[in-house]
Symmetry: C2
Subunit: 232 residues, 2 copies
């Protein structure tokens, strides 16, 4: 079958690593902290005394992102994540409490939605489409979150939150009628996620074969209409 062979990667990090690219923009280490352990740093504000385990935590998070992305929530085991990170599985439990805590820490995503108000209205659709295409192809974590969100409720909540917090404000700013912004944002999200689903998760052949330019040419008018067209 096409299932993952556990013996294929007996040790060491995964081949298709993130290479520290978009991962570096994820944000300032927003892990949940060691849950059942003594709180050694109550003032988690600007300054924080670096823990000796920061390297281990980062390695775990990177491996978790890869595994969750590749295998989904259920098949991504703590053992495999720990093995990829070169760390004992019990450390993962100690740092993140349980599997859900680990996922929550690994699921921090930055969509880096561009500022649409700086563009002339007729270019906003194309700008948004091109941004999401490049975002999706540059970071397999997004595909993973989509995979997890379809099966696990914590993953779905993650996607809902990411789009509500990061995409909505920009869409609100670009929408003509504020009362319609919610519906317009949902429509845009449906087309963006739908194409991502077909291309990167389901791998529907004709969707995979579309070039970036073709995608922009087809999808930009759709997004543009959802964004600014008069309500039908």
């Amino acid at each position: 079958m096409v299932e993952r062979d556990p013996s294929a990667t007996p040790s060491g990090p995964r081949s298709a690593g993130r290479s520290g690219g978009p991962a570096a923009a994820v944000g300032p280490e927003v892990d949940a902290g060691p849950p059942p352990v003594a709180a050694e740093a109550p003032d988690v504000g600007v300054h924080r005394r670096p823990r000796r385990s920061d390297a281990s935590r980062a390695a775990i998070l990177a491996a978790a992102r890869d595994r969750f992305a590749a295998d989904g929530y259920e098949r991504a085991t703590i053992r495999a994540i720990a093995r990829d990170a070169g760390i004992d599985p019990s450390m993962v439990m100690r740092y993140y409490g349980n599997k859900e805590g680990l996922f929550a820490a690994a699921a921090e995503i930055d969509l880096r939605v561009p500022d649409l108000t700086a563009l002339p209205p007729e270019e906003r659709g194309a700008r948004l489409v091109r941004h999401f295409i490049e975002l999706w192809e540059g970071d397999e974590t997004l595909t993973g979150m989509l995979r997890v969100g379809a099966t696990n409720d914590a993953g779905a909540e993650c996607i809902r939150r990411v789009f509500a917090e990061q995409a909505r404000p920009m869409i609100d700013a670009a929408c003509p009628v504020p009362a319609e912004a919610a519906a317009r944002a949902a429509l845009i999200e449906s087309q963006i996620l739908g194409m991502a689903l077909c291309r990167y998760v389901l791998r529907v052949p004709p969707a995979v074969d579309l070039s970036h330019d073709e995608l922009v040419a087809w999808l930009a008018p759709t997004i543009q209409r959802y964004l600014t067209a008069e309500r039908p």
Copy 2:
């Protein structure tokens, strides 16, 4: 957490049953047959001697569809499916060989795509959108297949095949330029599946709140454009 409580349904069928509605239209019992058992009916063509176990097989398939739909591939256990069907788990193995065989048998879907050529071109987008909305809300199996397809490759193949075999011909017949039909079908599929993902799987609030009429009003022009508009 929101995970399923195994003790919530100690026995008996699931509360949200299919009530034999769309399931009856799935097709003429296309199960894989008992794989490791003696082939008692080699001529599985038009006529077939009804097996004594047909009722059990149907019960298993119905329960499997519900479980796969609700829990996804990994969490849907053969034990739980058998319990819902009121049948011993070993029977599932005997009938369908293994878990993948069971899924393949349960994943037979009929999209019942309407004949678009009978409609004036300007009404085809709305017709298609309304059909898929009603289809999706009338049969939770489709949501389940989407859930499974996101995590499991067999599920993804199922979705690819269903759309390729059932939706493509109708779209081909309605598309102006045959060479562009593949891309147009992929675009339509991305918008249909994307909205289904947001509404029924991820349950993004603004997408869930959209009424049928609003959905048709917003999505129909998109589908219409993917279907017949000149290539951008």
